[in-house]
Symmetry: C2
Subunit: 191 residues, 2 copies
């Protein structure tokens, strides 16, 4: 017997409105985008941040902020649903987040890194720091991190695209959090 | 005590050469890119396919093939390391892959979908099918699938960027395969 598959269309896909989304409880993860060059990458992270329902995006350094047409092009409206803030200096806001109990995790290829799959419930709330497409996370910012999370790579290239890496890491963080926590979120069938 | 993190530089990051990569054993996963509009998305999937060391990419329909400068811009050389083939009609090659024992999995939002995290070792070798950025996987191609895998989404948007979704799914497939299989691959410390 063959299973029949039918794509779900617009209205059949249960998604919250922007108003409902803004009010609903989020997964306790913040993404920091520090010195990201490409506005398309920024917009793409907004789209993934919406899909993963994380708390907010913190934009620092020379990373562009909405509204910019290049961000909107890949965010596709997620710049309206996802909460964000801008700070020129990442150190200041990272210090405040530490004081509030956040674990600061850089996503980077570094000595003493931890596989991104080995995060535990004790590491939430978490701020996940992403750095420049070529240079990665500035060394001074890296020293603020409690952990460096690394995505293993088996191929010839040194790194992944930053918005792809963000997607891989954010989905893993949300999965780990949801699996180890009594869900307090709206009922959904997946995960 | 604070952990000290130092980014690894070019030569310190152990990566195979293109020649070694082409010869090394790969994870038993093929990605099919059917009717993908954006060459940047195609290139981005090449980069992720290199990082995950999957068998190859099958390009079908109107999806562009290398060499194209837009593909190269996001593949960053992965178009040289990752094996790929082009077929105009996906049905033909999917039939052959089924005969060879591949499980055909569409990545889509559909009735009767399975969470992408619930794949088992019996689903390898796997062909993961990705469809158009707006329309998703053609209905005729969807009927060739043994499973439709779905990435749960908690936000306002209907879908993820296709290259981000590919990254999330490929990393999960490779992780599941490696965790359930006695590793026969070159020694690496992660996962």
């Amino acid at each position: 017997m063959t299973m029949s598959f039918r794509k779900l269309q617009g209205d059949e896909i249960a998604r919250p409105s922007v108003n409902d989304y803004v009010r609903m409880e989020k997964h306790p993860v913040i993404v920091m985008l520090h010195n990201i060059r490409s506005m398309y990458n920024v917009g793409s992270v907004f789209r993934t941040a919406d899909a993963t329902a994380i708390e907010r995006i913190i934009i620092t350094g020379y990373t562009a902020t909405p509204p910019r047409k290049e961000i909107d092009k890949t965010a596709l409206g997620a710049q309206e649903s996802v909460q964000w803030e801008y700070f020129s200096r990442p150190e200041e806001v990272l210090g405040k987040l530490k004081d509030q109990g956040f674990t600061i995790c850089g996503l980077e290829i570094a000595e003493n890194s931890t596989p991104y799959t080995e995060v535990g419930i004790e590491n939430f709330p978490m701020c996940l720091v992403l750095g420049n497409e070529v240079e990665g996370i500035d060394s001074e910012v890296l020293q603020f991190c409690d952990y460096v999370l690394e995505i293993p790579q088996f191929g010839t290239k040194h790194s992944l695209n930053v918005s792809v890496a963000a997607g891989i890491a954010l989905y893993e963080m949300v999965k780990i959090f949801r699996q180890q926590q009594v869900p307090v979120f709206r009922e959904i069938s997946k995960f």
